[in-house]
Symmetry: C2
Subunit: 196 residues, 2 copies
């Protein structure tokens, strides 16, 4: 195997984690299979990450700087709240489709939940999402777009179900799932829900 820098290998390994999870399932995610997928041996994995756990933490970090970073930019941006909500949702959906293994990875950690740090990371990711979407909703209410009397937190809760349900549909229905215009359709319903 040709030699690569640690940076490149780390990226390859993290990508392989998501690949394996989505195509073969979570229980195929051993360091052995991971090494085979990347095309190196098992020992080499531990040259680039000090443990399997560290790989997971690295991926979560990517979500924080990648997805959450972009969502934050949208949520805190200068556009009107209607456009921000739409952009937010569509960006969110796009990310999940492009990184199909992510949701499974995150929730499997929640499910196993013996690891404080991993659990906290997940909690941080989700509550950040929820607080960003709450901000957009509140802004929209202030702008007079949406009904001020509604419980922002409840609406945010409903929002949170959308990307999760999308991922479940992706896993279970494979290709049958109609994702064309999915975010627009969901946006439309969210808007009705909040209308005056």
């Amino acid at each position: 195997m040709e030699r690569q820098t640690t940076e490149i290998r780390q990226e390859q390994i993290k990508k392989a984690v998501l690949d394996i999870i989505f195509t073969d399932g979570l229980d195929q995610l051993s360091t052995r299979n991971l090494a085979r997928r990347v095309g190196i041996t098992e020992g080499a994995i531990f040259r680039h990450f000090k443990s399997k756990r560290d790989i997971m933490l690295g991926i979560m970090q990517d979500v924080k700087t990648g997805l959450i970073g972009e969502l934050r930019q949208i949520a805190l941006g200068a556009d009107g709240s209607e456009k921000r909500l739409s952009d937010f949702l569509c960006r969110h959906v796009k990310y999940l489709i492009e990184n199909k293994g992510i949701t499974i990875l995150l929730f499997s950690e929640a499910a196993h939940m013996n690891d404080k740090e991993l659990k906290e990371n997940l909690h941080e990711i989700l509550s950040e999402q929820k607080s960003l979407i709450s901000k957009i909703i509140r802004d929209g209410m202030t702008e007079g777009l949406w009904n001020k009397k509604l419980a922002v937190d409840d609406i945010a809760t409903i929002y949170m179900g959308i990307p999760i349900t999308l991922n479940i549909e992706l896993i279970l229905n494979e290709d049958r799932f109609d994702m064309h215009g999915f975010c627009k359709r969901m946006f439309f319903l969210m808007q009705r829900m909040m209308s005056k």
Copy 2:
């Protein structure tokens, strides 16, 4: 240990599975821990179930005859669709709170997904839920309660996110989560979403 019938042990074992998942996490769900929780030895587990997989199938069967059976009764009942939707949602939420490990168990199987039968069971459970809720929505539209022009499937998708989000909040926020009147509040928003 006092001797018990296979029927009683099977119930104890299935209950212990959900207990362990919710309190200790999925990776503590070994046959060793299962036996310890029930108060018998590991070998005894295999006297009452022929495999660990069979225990999971048994639990899924319970969901089908228990939860799904009740939801079906509500959905196909004689009440108006408004009441049926409310009852459906509240019954759904109540079941998840009383069987906190269920969702994790189901989705962990989806995530591992190497087992055709388990995966199909999950698919059946979820699509049955979705088709029942779709029926209620369609009925409500026919009754003139809700807007006929909306996409029933999209609304059902949003609905499906609610119980899942509830479970995630339960796991991550432990007791902080305000589940008082949760189903009523969600019902209220669903209704707004579908209003004319």
